[in-house]
Amino acid sequence: MDWMQFIWAGLGNGAIYALIALGFCIVYGAMGIVNFVQVDFVTLGGMFLYSVAVTAGLPVPLGVVASMVGTALVAMAVERMALRPARTANHLVLVFLTVGISIVVRGAIHMVWGKNRMAVPPLTADDPVRLLGAYVLPQTLWMMVLTLLAILALVWFFRGTPLGLAMRAVASNPRAAAVVGIPAGRVRLAAYAVAGACGGLAGALVTPITTLSADVGVLLGLKGFAAAILGGFGSFPGAVVGGLILGISEALAAGYLSSAYKDALAFVLLVLVLAWRPQGLLGR
């Protein structure tokens, strides 16, 4: 069953896109901007995993946790040191600023980890398992399971914790949130931390399959953004559905149409959706 094979691959990648898309949406909710640094959060996730699991030789699961924590810390530093000092409220300037920060972070990654391609170990052994008539890598299953767990954790965070509720309030009506005294600075910081953790997890999960390099996050991250746009930018369920749709259509396109243009599909879709359905495929 060929198509089942493609569906598995698509769901795995789709989960990664969904995680990255969620990162974009969380920062967008808190600040109203597209955060280009999200792209580098993905790379950083892979890099931290490499340092913990390969360089230090510690267990891989520990490396995944370290990726999330480490990237979240970097994200918080980015917000505190580079975005907060900007005294402008002009969104385009802020977006541009994140472009600049993203380039700087990439430079820092080059300096710390070098420019070579590296191999990162998966969470568990590499032998494919047979599931529903197709072979699946265990890592692909981990991607789906851990993404699902992350989504559940996010749901709990945004519905059950005061900070999460504050963030939702800011996202739905920033002015009203400011009036009732929700601390905007803390919300932004938290948004960056959560977005960083999402990106770091995505990077730690996907780099064992893609191999790791300093630019690995760029393409993945932009595809994550495309997923967010497909689902309607800013919408959390939209981000997840958009990610899965993108992952599966990529896998099917690679299998049945042309594997050469698999990587371009997301971007063609991105332009088409922006041009003709800026509210996303699912939006009203």
């Binding site: 600023l97 430079g107 990587d263 922006l274 041009a275």
Partner: protein, 330 residues
């Protein structure tokens, strides 16, 4: 110095600047005929062509394009493929490539420029990724990752532009013409409208600036200038490869614009020159390229969002102003 001289210089500042610029271009090959230096300055002129266009677009509409390397690529590969594979003459190829870029900008721009905010930034970025991908994949035409060689040079009036001195006069001549047009535009009545459009879109619209049409027109203009720059690039080096047109090149172009100052015509040349010359000044600038370029962008946006050229100009205006005031009361 007396007050009248200062007044004369001040009121003819643009004309004088143009004369000085022309004179410098004419004299430069006499000062140095080092091919290495001329290659650098020629590259500055070619890239400046694209940056001036991008600056007119970004500086007037307040929109960001992160994909202008795609238009550069259309010019370069349009010229390359049409001359190498179709045997067209370089000028015809250049024209065809420019038309292609204009058409592409129109198709992308009309729907996207209706939206506000980040839509255009992301869409241009996506277009750039797709174009870059096509360059890599269609190797029977583009040569794939190893690039396309054997592109013939341009010729003007029977003279083949194949040495750095001739190229110098040609590319700087074209750049000066474009700069002159851009300065005219900025100083004209529509140009005043564009300055307001950059600062306040609703204000400009209510005063009669046809916002959507202007945005699309400027995107097309900047695409054509980028395509022409790309064609010059291809015909100058005879060789093009996909690496010269990645999204990182697009961000570099945008950094040049911000460095010089959005909406500042001379600033475009300054921005291009600084970014191109940095690696010559220090090896570290090449080794830590991302760090330096990203750092410049962040620093400018945080501390001098009006850009270097505006900051210089404001300093100079302040000086002239003080001087005039001192002499008016004396």
């Amino acid at each position: 110095m007396n007050a009248r001289l200062v007044h004369f210089v001040w009121s003819h500042r643009l004309g004088l600047l143009v004369i000085v610029a022309v004179a410098m271009v004419l004299i430069f090959p006499l000062v140095t005929n080092n091919p290495y230096t001329l290659e650098l300055t020629n590259r500055i002129a070619i890239i400046s062509l694209a940056v001036v266009g991008l600056n007119l677009f970004m500086g007037s509409t307040g929109q960001i394009s992160l994909g202008h390397a795609a238009f550069l690529a259309m010019g370069a590969y349009g010229s390359g493929v049409l001359t190498v594979h179709a045997g067209l003459s370089p000028w015809v190829a250049l024209l065809a490539a420019a038309v292609l870029a204009a058409f592409f900008a129109l198709v992308v721009g009309v729907p996207l420029l209706r939206l506000s905010g980040h839509a255009l930034a992301m869409a241009t970025l996506a277009c750039n990724v797709v174009v870059h991908h096509v360059l890599l994949q269609e190797d029977q035409w583009t040569g794939g990752p190893s690039g396309l060689a054997g592109i013939p040079p341009l010729s003007v009036g029977g003279i083949l532009l194949d040495n750095p001195v001739q190229l110098h006069f040609f590319v700087w001549g074209v750049l000066l013409l474009v700069l002159f047009g851009a300065l005219n535009l900025v100083r004209s009545l529509p140009g005043r409208g564009l300055a307001l459009l950059a600062a306040d879109e609703i204000g400009a619209a209510c005063l009669g600036v046809p916002v959507l049409r202007v945005k699309v027109a400027l995107l097309v203009l900047s695409a054509v200038l980028a395509a022409v720059a790309g064609s010059f690039f291809a015909h100058t080096y005879g060789y093009v490869s996909p690496d010269s047109f990645s999204i990182f090149v697009s961000t570099d172009l945008a950094i040049m614009v911000v460095l010089g100052g959005m909406g500042s015509v001379w600033g475009s040349v300054l921005g291009a020159a600084v970014i191109i010359l940095l690696p010559e000044v220090s090896d570290a600038a090449e080794t830590y390229k991302e760090f330096v370029h990203g750092g410049i962008l962040v620093a400018i946006l945080l501390f001098a969002p009006q850009g270097a050229m505006r900051a210089i100009r404001q300093g100079w205006q302040l000086a002239v102003w003080r001087w005039r005031r001192a002499h008016a009361t004396a």
